[in-house]
Symmetry: C2
């Protein structure tokens, strides 16, 4: 491994053991990503033998020096704190250390989300000025431009200052990665007026109003999919519930169509005819197909994927990490946070 970062190359450490289809989807996703992008190096971190078996099974090859053996595995049931203490030779810990030591530029994992957040936070570390790293998720909207919800579950009990941090991080993320200038930011609440909300939003509203962010005030549950704003800020408890709810909407639709089809042959024909149209029209609501979500506020690139990530999803996460690297996102976060601190 090369200790010195070459700016023309992005080195991504993949947690080969993370996710429901590990190591298979991670290995194949890495190969797919490598075949579609230049200036990319991928390290497969995990049980060498299992990785080699996947390669054999599919008749694929992978540079041996880029398979980093890590004999321990953090599974979905491991407590993040326990895992950090007792599984120092796990793929996640080894991968995070590579980023920390400058041997990799990004870490991606479809494994235990809590462990990934904890290990990124404590092994790679936070950017100065960030007290709580945050994950955000894009949701489809009526306008066609996604709305990003921050925080989507990194921190369940939030203080007003955390919501302000989320807004800052999300703002820079959308400006740099999506090239949206002055993204519109809304505070998720129960009414549009400043007087509507709970104790947390009342205080966060005041903080957000005093920034030079493009803060448009409170938004409601219905505004997310309407696309009234680019960024919705909320505590991770609300955000997590909202996103898991959103992910389940397609299943409800499918079950409703099934039920309706069962009521008669004409209904069945109608549903059959509608199916293809719906599938195409709603393709971007199928969350498991897309890539992962970055953990923002970490002093390095850390991307968390869905447990059931497909090969394409893993490849997308790797490319997303590469994209963040070449956009100098972490450096820009640091500069902006420093400038903000000095302006206070």
């Amino acid at each position: 491994m090369n200790n010195i970062s070459d700016n023309n190359i992005c080195r991504v450490a993949v947690d080969a053991m993370g996710g429901d289809f590990a190591p298979e989807n991670n290995v194949l996703g890495a190969i797919e990503a490598l075949s579609s992008a230049k200036n990319l190096e991928v390290y497969l971190v995990g049980r060498q033998e299992e990785i080699t078996n996947v390669l054999k099974k599919h008749g694929k090859s992978f540079p041996e020096d880029k398979i980093i053996d890590a004999p321990q595995v953090i599974d979905m049931h491991d407590s993040p704190v326990q895992a950090m203490k007792t599984k120092k030779d796990s793929s996640l810990m080894v991968g995070a250390k590579m980023v920390k030591d400058g041997k990799a530029d990004a870490l991606i994992s479809a494994g235990n989300t809590g462990a990934m957040m904890a290990i990124s936070t404590f092994v790679i570390g936070r950017i100065k000025g960030v007290s709580r790293p945050t994950i955000g998720t894009p949701l489809p909207t009526e306008t066609g431009v996604p709305c990003h919800v921050f925080d989507a579950g990194a921190s369940v009990d939030c203080k007003p200052a955390h919501l302000l941090e989320y807004a800052f991080l999300a703002n820079t993320y959308l400006e740099e990665m999506y090239k949206i200038k002055n993204p519109k930011i809304g505070l998720l609440s129960v009414g549009e007026e400043e007087t509507k909300g709970n104790e947390l939003t009342f205080a966060a509203f005041k903080l957000l109003k005093d920034t030079n962010l493009n803060f448009v005030g409170n938004v409601e549950g219905r505004d997310v999919l309407k696309g009234s704003v680019d960024i919705v800020v909320c505590d991770g408890f609300t955000g997590n519930i909202l996103l898991k709810f959103a992910e389940s909407v397609l299943n409800l639709l499918k079950s409703k169509l099934r039920r309706y089809a069962d009521q008669g042959i004409l209904n069945k024909l109608g549903v059959l005819a509608a199916k293809g149209t719906l599938k195409n029209a709603l393709s971007d609501m199928d969350y498991q197909k897309t890539g992962g979500v970055p953990l923002l506020g970490i002093d390095g690139i850390s991307i968390i994927g869905h447990g059931s990530s497909s090969v394409d999803a893993v490849a997308n996460m790797i490319l997303q990490g590469r994209n963040m690297h070449f956009n100098n996102l972490i450096q820009i976060f640091k500069q902006k946070l420093e400038a903000y601190e000095q302006s206070k």
Copy 2:
């Protein structure tokens, strides 16, 4: 007006001035309800002249002694507390007083939700043992049996004991009104394990576990539409955001289909063909068509409707009030709360 309640008759006071289509939809809804149910008396409470004009316009008649003049109107922008103080002759205040004085058995309104909650709470009053009245909303599920979310926005900052109250009230409501024995109750959180959640849910979990309710533990955002439980308990901030989000899903679907149709004639034909099927299959996701939601914990029947309630929706709310009355819901709440207090 008759001051003594006749058990064979249900008397519903309708806030004729509430909602976006007042008084028209309220007047027509009252007439529709009366034509479809026996043992029902409806009072139209509001500006007598405006009510009479609607009747004239549609060539309908209504017993004059059942039109209760109330010259003031609480609109959507009135602060609930201010409205209670300064609009004592409003339709909502007069209607609530009728219930308080035993001159009506139920109050329904499609008007200002906050004012309806405040006036019901302070004019009609709470049942002994209830500190926070609650509204719940049924959501469609994959199983076909709705899942009721309590609280849907009555109280944004909740204490653990409030969540326990919501569970009790919702439990009795589903047992008595939906004839569901021992409804399954879940606590909305960010993971199924008892260790997942925020400070509020940790404490509420402990309280709920110690009851004889059919408490199944934490449920996640995705469990609501899956129909894993009959009742989901949460604070009104989270519940309100979730429900407004759910209400907006159909609009996103419509916009996605429109966008897809715009991409070509074949797509357009597909969408046209799918439209009828979708409309039928998803009919119960059209929230504005259904009735209202009861405010539980009030010492009288109080039902709150959507601002854009149709004539059918108003009629449904009246029939819902009648149904609650003939099921002796308020009496049963009182008996159960008393029994619980004594069992402690």
